[in-house]
């Protein structure tokens, strides 16, 4: 097994720069998730490790060795594709064995490794079937199995769960994670689903417009997003943003205001006069005297989304912005009602409106 390194990697397709000066070190055995909206360069970054695209500049390394010009088959990697890319005319057994056959492994070894991979994934009884006779979930397992039998240095997974239904996706998500922990192979996993990224990755790389926006553990990204993009992308439902004026009151206190909205909180550092306030729904509550919340902020209810376990309430707090709050399931205001909202101390994220960079939390 081996780590993977990107050193100042740039990839251009004609005039379009898909990946720009991308640098990242992935440790041996690590599970790293590349996440971002479409067009963010995450799949390009993955394909560069696979050797399916040639890089424009920079270096890609596997196990410390520069592999820019090494053919895909000689990189000792295995890839799981979004559409699984199973060979349609071959049985599951032949699909699993294909790479080993190409490598001219001894017949007995091929058989043993195929059986072992099939047993690990619970697809032994499917070995004689052809891909078209399999369900989506079964195909997905076979695709995983095909990667598994090769015992590669690195697993590359390109949105492998996106064709599964929601329930199967959640189930397979944890299975892949468990499998990876068990065999300990370095894994790069691409997804546009931030929930998948947060639940699976040892580290998550958030990408935007071909540039690395932030890399860190799921908790780091959630607690300390580097900028508004990461803050808005990580966390579901997404963070609400409101532009406010910040006035220092001296003695380490600051007042955030816009129209009727007025909040006072402790601020450890100097703030610019205008800031953007970000609040995650789970940190905003219905105002209740006696609780330790910052507020109250009064606003008009715009909508209520019932999720069963809780209600998400969209509350207009200024003319152009709303807060989404996570309310109890039995709290059911009507649209148009005016309610008061409070925010947990230390959970107001502040951003610079010009650079969109994070200014810390208050």
């Amino acid at each position: 097994m081996a780590g993977v390194g990107y050193q100042g990697v740039t990839k251009r397709f004609g005039d379009v720069t898909a990946l720009s000066e991308f640098s990242l070190e992935i440790a041996d055995g690590e599970f790293v998730v590349l996440v971002g909206p479409s067009g963010s360069g995450k799949t390009t970054a993955l394909r560069l490790v696979a050797g399916l695209e040639a890089l424009s500049s920079g270096n890609v390394l596997i196990g410390g060795r520069v592999i820019n010009r090494v053919a895909p088959k000689d990189r000792d990697i295995a890839m799981v594709f979004q559409d699984y890319a199973l060979y349609p005319q071959m049985t599951v057994q032949q699909n699993l064995a294909f790479a080993l056959k190409m490598r001219k492994s001894p017949r007995a070894e091929i058989e043993q490794r195929v059986l072992q991979a099939a047993a690990t994934l619970g697809i032994t009884e499917l070995l004689r079937r052809k891909p078209r006779a399999l369900s989506g979930g079964q195909r997905q397992r076979v695709a995983l199995g095909r990667a598994l039998v090769r015992e590669p240095q690195v697993f590359l997974m390109d949105e492998p769960l996106s064709n599964l239904d929601a329930k199967l996706r959640v189930q397979t998500r944890s299975e892949i994670k468990r499998l990876q922990e068990q065999i300990g192979t370095t894994t790069i996993y691409v997804t546009h689903d931030q929930v998948e990224a947060m639940t699976m990755g040892d580290r998550v790389v958030v990408m935007r417009d071909g540039v690395l926006a932030q890399v860190g553990s799921p908790r780091e990204l959630y607690e300390q997003p580097a900028d508004m993009f990461v803050a808005g992308f990580i966390g579901s439902p997404a963070m609400s943003f409101t532009a406010v004026s910040a006035t220092s009151n001296g003695s380490g206190r600051v007042t955030l205001s816009r129209g009727d909205l007025r909040l006072e909180a402790g601020a450890a550092r100097e703030l610019p006069a205008e800031v953007i306030m970000g609040v995650r729904p789970e940190h905003a509550r219905v105002w209740d005297d006696g609780t330790r919340l910052i507020g109250p902020i009064s606003g008009r209810v715009e909508y209520v989304e019932m999720l069963g376990r809780e209600n998400l309430v969209g509350v207009a707090v200024t003319d152009e912005s709303r807060l989404v709050i996570d309310a109890d399931a039995d709290f059911g205001p009507r649209p148009g009602d005016t309610i008061a909202v409070g925010i947990q101390p230390g959970r107001i994220y502040l951003f610079d409106p010009n650079t969109q960079k994070a200014l810390g939390r208050i």
Partner: protein, 275 residues
């Protein structure tokens, strides 16, 4: 669900029936004429008062059709084999690889589709004569293969282009060479299209008339349709006999088509319908 108004359905069926009629009418006519008693003159499309199948036996023996069939079979099988392999190779390169000049090469093949044989037949004749190949099967095979490859490459390129990119990439990562990728992954994937190409090529080659007439001279090398021309020249007055000859010549193509009909339709629909 596809819903069409009643008028549309009626119109669709009317058109289908019309075109089926146009296609079937001459075939039925020739077949019915072939079962009239020898030397009679069928004037309209109607069954004879009594069926006479003896015309087929007479035509087969007197028309040397065994000889022409041998010629046609040798030429058609060679042309199908040769042009299919070349079309697969050409289509694979043009459909899956990026290389300098690929567009020019592709359009050159398309040119082969556009220019009719009639336009080149004179220079072709002199070329073949210069090669000392007049009145040989080799001449027919070479010229026909070159003609079929134009369509074949176009067809196979489209078939290979319809293969998911990930399939090719998966095979490359799995360690398949370009050659293995073609024969182990792409050819099985494109099999319906290949079979369709083979049926079309076979029909085309079997029915080859013009080239055989120009490039061959002896009975021994005439293809079945060209032989039929010679035969009908001899028996102009005996319509049932000539019709029987025509039916005999048409049978192999019909048999091949009927046997491979299902695959043929699947090949024609490749890419048209989501799998």
């Amino acid at each position: 669900m596809n819903t069409a108004s009643r008028a549309q359905v009626v119109l669709n069926y009317a058109l289908l029936i019309l075109f089926t009629f146009l296609a079937v009418y001459p075939i039925v006519g020739v077949f019915l004429a072939s079962v009239y008693p020898p030397h009679s003159q069928p004037t309209s499309i109607s069954p004879p008062s009594h069926f006479s199948f003896h015309n087929f036996v007479t035509a087969w023996t007197q028309g040397h059709f065994a000889l022409y069939f041998r010629s046609s079979a040798i030429v058609a099988v060679s042309v199908v084999a040769g042009s299919t392999v070349l079309s697969i190779l050409g289509g694979y390169a043009l459909g899956t690889m990026r290389f300098r000049g690929s567009k020019v090469i592709f359009y050159t093949f398309i040119l082969g589709l556009i220019i009719p044989t009639e336009a080149t037949i004179v220079s072709l004749y002199y070329d073949i004569r210069a090669l000392n190949l007049i009145d040989t099967w080799t001449a027919l095979i070479l010229v026909e293969v070159s003609g079929e490859v134009a369509f074949g490459v176009f067809w196979m390129r489209a078939a290979f282009m319809s293969a998911p990119r990930s399939l090719i990439e998966a095979a490359r990562i799995d360690g398949a060479s370009t050659w293995r990728l073609l024969w182990r992954i792409m050819v099985p994937f494109a099999w319906p299209a290949i079979l369709t190409l083979m049926v079309l090529t076979f029909a085309d080659s079997w029915n080859e008339f013009f080239l055989a007439l120009v490039l061959t001279t002896s009975d021994q090398h005439l293809t079945a349709p060209a032989g039929l021309q010679v035969f009908s020249g001899k028996y102009t007055m005996n319509t049932p006999l000539v019709s029987a000859g025509a039916v005999i010549v048409a049978v192999p193509v019909i048999v091949v088509f009927v046997l491979l009909q299902r695959q043929f339709i699947r090949g024609v629909l490749t890419g048209a319908v989501k799998g």
